[in-house]
């Protein structure tokens, strides 16, 4: 199995890793934006010191070396106003991103250690399962139909006077 990882560093240089080995290590620097071409739902997490281990259902393992340390180093909300250039802060923050599972997937993007911890202790994992489209805990939608228009497919969800058309 091959897994694609794209890392954009703090200088906006993009590096693409096509992982074909069963066990692959990748050193994370501060400001790296790591994108894993896989849904977070399909990955199990483990930690080892400051490293995050991503365990795939195919038995492949990717180790993101020092990721936990980098997430802890990320600028937090208590930044003095004169330093709050969000563009710069974003650029210097380490982030881990997965493929967005659906419209309501809030766990695909990890940019602080608390979020990662909540995923690690399993609480969030349960919430992901519960927040599939037709059973969202935030907003109740019922999938109404699948619409074919001009050879394109739309899944239609409706609640009251609001309709969502998802192009698949």
């Amino acid at each position: 199995m091959s897994i694609k990882i794209v890392i954009k560093d703090k200088n906006l240089m993009v590096k693409e890793h096509k992982v074909v080995e069963r066990y692959y290590e990748c050193v994370i620097d501060y400001g790296d934006w790591i994108f894993i071409e896989e849904s977070q739902k399909n990955v199990k997490f483990e930690t080892e010191n400051e490293d995050l281990l991503l365990l795939f259902s195919s038995d492949d393992t990717i180790v993101l070396k020092s990721l936990l340390k980098r997430l802890k180093e990320n600028p937090n909300e208590n930044i003095p106003a004169q330093f709050s250039d969000m563009g710069l802060i974003n650029q210097l923050s380490t982030k881990l991103e997965f493929v967005k599972n659906d419209l309501f997937d809030e766990e695909y993007f990890i940019k602080d250690i608390d979020k990662l911890n909540s995923l690690l202790n399993g609480k969030s994992q349960e919430k992901v399962t519960a927040s599939v489209l037709n059973k969202s805990v935030k907003f109740q939608y019922e999938k109404q139909e699948t619409l074919e228009v001009e050879n394109e497919t739309f899944e239609v969800y409706k609640e009251g006077d609001f309709t969502i058309y998802l192009r698949t």
């Binding site: 419209l103 619409l147 228009v149 006077d161 309709t163 969502i164 192009r167």
Partner: protein, 426 residues
Amino acid sequence: MLLKRELELKTLQEDFIKPVSSFLFIFGRKQVGKTTFLQDYTKDKSTLFLSCIEVLPHLLFESFQKQITQKYEQATTNIETFGDFLLWLTHLSFTKKTVIIFDDFHTLCKIQKACLEEFYKQWNNHLKQKNIQIIFSSSIDSHTKEEAIVYQNASKRIVLEAFGYEAIKTILPEISKEDQLKLFALFGTHFNSIKHYNTSKSFEQNVSDILRQHQHAIVQQGWYLLKSEFAETATYASILYAIANGNNKIGEIAQTLGVKSSYLTRYLQKLNEMMLIKKRVPMNEDFAYSKFGRYTLEDNFLRFWFKCVYVNLALYEQNSMSKFVDTVLQTLYTELLPQTFQTHMYEMIVRNFETFFGYQPIQVGSWWNNKDQPIDVVAFNDSVVTFIQLQYQASSNSKQIYEELKQKSEAFQTVLNKQFALFSCH
């Protein structure tokens, strides 16, 4: 592959088969495919295809004469003006209906003033008695008051739009819908780029290959358009660059360029006449007098060129291609693709509104006011009004999108029942 413009071909053909002479105009921005279209239309017809090039008038008419006398027996004469040439043309005998095309007619208007008025005079005096169909093709859609009467009396006036997203589906039906949309977002229907697409490779690899292997042609494409049409290349390039970067209001464009808004008016008008940009106004607003005009680049390839190539010429010239390809892909995913998705969805909704919403709208369009809170689509009939948000990748909290859309809709005055919708991608 030659894509057919069935509707326009039918219009021309219907005009051609009438037992009378006629003249008509075809407008379309540069490189939209006017010449190819006319070649396709005339392939089985008796045709005089006269290409207008920038040269001294008497040399141009001399070349026209040469071309015609190869086909018709007619003595040449010394011709100085377009009027002389048309008069000479009236001596020809057209036993079979003949199409006479003045391709790139705007070029002739540049080198010979009042040529359209001269044509109309000759048309009324002599030419309309001939068995001919005259077609003027032009990249500039504008006319003076004096010329207006000529346009009014033309049998047809056709505007040739660029091929849309459907063309990509026809040319590359084997690639995924997502890749088709990405390709369209990047290169539009610029066939010189997309014809190199290799379906056995990934989209990203194709983009990289096309940019690397056809680097020179891609760079030259934008410059060719600018330099062949504009004397003030830098000014027009800067305006197009500003618009490509999302500055849609005249004030924003002026601010980006550091000039007064009033200075830009004639440049924007010229770009509009050349069909390179389009002015839009909110639904229900008067096009000529609305204060809320927004300008957009019409062609995806041109938008890509100004967004990615023009601003990164240094990378191109230094052969830093890896960095350049990364920049292009990043711009594609963050800006070009979401914009293209919006345009594509907008057009699809307008075409299929009833299928999506179950009623036939009286009016449909985009709406905004001076609060910078545009609503992508608003449509209504006599009882319901629908507000639609188009978002390529909607944020995870659609409840929030719903609340924001509801709040934006407050500014749209209506007594109708409101409904809301979001179009997004999986």
